[in-house]
Amino acid sequence: MDFDFGSLLAFIIFGVTIGVVYGIVALGISLIYSGLDIVHFAHGEIYMFGAFLGLVLSQQIGIPYPGAMIGAMVLAALLGMFIERVFYRRLTRSGGGYTVAGMGMIICGFGMSVALMNVAFLIWGADAEPFPVEFGIEPLEINDISIPPSYLLTAVVSLCLMGILNYFLRYTKIGLAVRAVAHNKDIAFLMGINVPLFISLIFGLACALAAAAGVLVGPMQSVQVEMGYLMLMKAFAAAVVGGFGSLPGALIGGILVGIFENLGAAYISASHKDIYAFLLLILVLMYRPAGLFGVVAKVKA
């Protein structure tokens, strides 16, 4: 293959667009991790549910695409809060103070992942569903390589969502309280914050982000029951690469994973596309275990 600067640029652009999607799912995983001290292994299925909900809202009910995305985010947030309240809350409570030490939560997460996948299978079946959306934008042409509008839109919407989240966490009273709960629940209680309510809120927020990612990726690929697993792994890699609990880290980690796997697919072997993310994960864990932007594991008294 001849080296061609134009195609390199295109691969990088493709990498960045899918990378920001990994980034917003990673952000959700990171939020849940700092809020509940658990790694949520069913997050990929929330993403899958988000994609299906968006599909149903836009194709079957006929809501325009932006509305369908917002609808899917709200429904996924409700689903997430329901799961957290009904299933996870019992486990976290028995662990004492909304944190869990041990395997229970991890296994519960995996179980939830399988359960959700099968619920989706019952409702929508195993076939991959196309998610055609007319954006009404011309594809962007760079050196004979055209970038489809869905990719452009995805990147823009993801960045906007991150911007909004950043503003929310940094400059609003509720956002401040979310950060307080994420950092230390006992002190947050003493500030008069209703901690159990905020934990639900954090969970719902993370699920809304995953659903947005699902609705964004839907038109690029297709929507099917097993799409969540790979997304979870990529987003997990992104969160670790960027550093768990770091907001800019999740974004940069996602973009790095996206670029890395696209370049690997282009110049090494396209059939092993999914390996490269984990290669990057292993490299980062070997040389910078806390991630690029992470702080060395916070020690809790």
Partner: protein, 245 residues
């Protein structure tokens, strides 16, 4: 204002407090004294609702608060000032202070109180944009007290404000606490620094092994021989005496 009757509490099956009776009158300053591991912090956590009450009752401002959730207790005007190491180090000074006012919805009043706190602790105004993790020990202590004031409390509970501070800074902090009490805020102060606490408080309780050993007015306790022996350096003198004889 705060009435604690026969309170038992602890963690899980481990009982730490075994029948505490304590009373803080409105507008008063009361000290709770004792060494490490005697149950001081557990009592504070029990009052603020972080540790559940097993037996007995706690009444604040005419309402029973035992059994309520911590955030509800804060809303009733009983605010605990955390230990100084428990500011939010990754937040700025101002964010920490605003967090203290989380329960309030009168933004004008909050602004005015922020201004008051800055006048009270000018160093916080200077450093309001820096992360509180970079402050000195004394500054963080001022920050957590200021954060407590932001909630517009009827009563403040302070958890060892003198811990790990230089004597000169301790003096400054205590004079500030005195000024706060002069504004009508009721104060319960938990301390290991018995001498300072007895200078500030009108009444004091000494806790050991989860029970109140001695209580009395601050003046009586300063002159009490057993307090002198166990807390005011008396033991060292006695040990010397017994070594010499």
């Amino acid at each position: 204002m705060l009435n604690i009757k026969e309170v038992h509490s602890g963690y899980g099956k481990l009982k730490i407090l075994r029948g505490i009776n304590l009373n803080v009158p409105q507008g008063g300053v009361v000290a709770l004294l004792g060494g490490n591991g005697t149950g001081k912090s557990t009592l504070l956590k029990t009052i603020s609702g972080l540790v559940p009450v097993m037996e007995g009752s706690i009444e604040f401002d005419g309402q029973i608060i035992s059994g309520k959730k911590p955030h509800e207790i804060v809303r009733s005007g009983l605010v605990q000032v955390t230990q100084s190491k428990e500011a939010y180090p990754a937040m700025t000074v101002e964010e920490n202070l605003m967090l203290g006012a989380f329960t309030r919805s009168d933004s004008g009043g909050v602004r005015a109180d922020l201004e008051k706190v800055y006048e009270f602790f000018p160093v916080l105004r200077q450093r309001r944009k820096v992360l509180s993790g970079t402050l000195s020990g004394g500054e963080v202590q001022m920050l957590v007290i200021g954060r407590g004031l932001m909630a517009k409390p009827k009563m403040l509970m302070l958890d060892e404000p003198s811990a790990a501070l230089a004597p000169k800074v301790v003096l400054e902090i205590f004079s500030n606490i005195y000024k706060i009490s002069q504004t009508g805020v009721t104060i319960l102060i938990v301390e290991q620094n018995v001498r300072m606490a007895l200078l500030l408080a009108q009444y004091a309780y000494i806790i050991r092994d989860g029970v109140i050993m001695i209580e009395g007015s601050a003046e009586d306790l300063i002159n009490d021989s057993s307090v002198k022996d166990s807390f005011l350096g008396g033991t060292v003198a006695n040990t010397k005496k017994s070594l010499n004889s």
